[in-house]
Symmetry: C2
Subunit: 165 residues, 2 copies
């Protein structure tokens, strides 16, 4: 199937919170995101992987800078209760490629990651949806990453820079 | 902003491959997904988290059952070269909620995870996009998970079961 990459985008000023050694049992994610929702913290992306033995989960989610202080207060109490721990990372940006087509991920991932590799941009997190591949990177690499990805897919005038929220 | 959940879906017969202790250096993801693309393995979702000290990455991706044999041959060679290791999980399903609206993730995640928790369904992986939250679960829980999520959002006739590809 032909891959049609329609555009790319950059979102800046992102903070990431990662909960580590989270018990991998039913109900734990509900507890975490209910607590966060009640604290009025707006969560953008959520990524969860699990440990090799299935005992623990690692849940990373991104938020706006403005919510970081509230989030930290909520998360530290939560981690005490769940016996897990949290790490924070500021100054992140998300560079995304948007396209259409089933083979989207394998073919496009190859090209997008190659463009970032050539520009020596390290990929911290990856998430995908049917029409998009997103990478969390150091904010300092943001504009350059957008440019090299834009060029890799010959987007001409189609690339966009998302408005800073 | 009002959250409008439009529907939910279930995709069955999913296999997940997780690469663990992957060196977290520029170029490594490009190498991995170029190798996979050259082997004609179609990758669906990609999820990457990184270790606390930033040394290692954990990359999980889902594929169709049909590609598993080819993928195993490619991945074991790759892991030898990169000095990382891989784990496989079959019999997975992906239950998703599709909606519209910025607060989508925080409010909807809370409700979706609560519904799965009440049904004692364990969430193995989580990925989100602007309009969707997806959870990888045991395939055995698939139909039940779809039903409880469908009911939690009062979807009436809107829920869907994706065609088995
Ligand atoms: C870690 C968390 O996602 C857990 N597995 C749950 O189902 O809630
Ligand atoms: C692990 C891998 O994603 C690495 N960080 C890279 O940029 O390629």
């Amino acid at each position: 199937e032909r891959i049609v990459v329609r555009g790319c985008a950059l979102k800046e000023h992102i903070a990431r919170i990662t909960l580590r050694d989270v018990p991998n049992k039913p109900g734990v994610a509900a507890n975490i995101f209910h607590t966060i929702a009640s604290g009025n913290v707006v969560v953008d992306d959520i990524i969860q992987t699990i440990s090799d033995d299935g005992q623990y989960a690692y849940i990373a989610f991104t938020i706006e800078y403005g919510d970081l202080a509230d989030a930290k207060a909520i998360i530290s109490k939560l981690c005490n209760k769940l016996d897990c721990y949290e790490t924070y990372q500021m100054d992140l940006a998300k560079v995304s490629v948007v396209g259409i087509g089933m083979q989207m991920h394998t073919g496009v991932a190859d090209q997008m990651f190659k463009a970032l590799a050539k520009a020596q941009v390290n990929i911290q997190n990856i998430t995908t949806s049917e029409i998009k591949i997103s990478c969390l990177i150091d904010e300092a690499h943001g504009p350059r990453a957008l440019r090299v990805v834009h060029d890799a897919f010959d987007l001409g005038g189609k690339g966009t820079l998302l408005p800073k929220k």
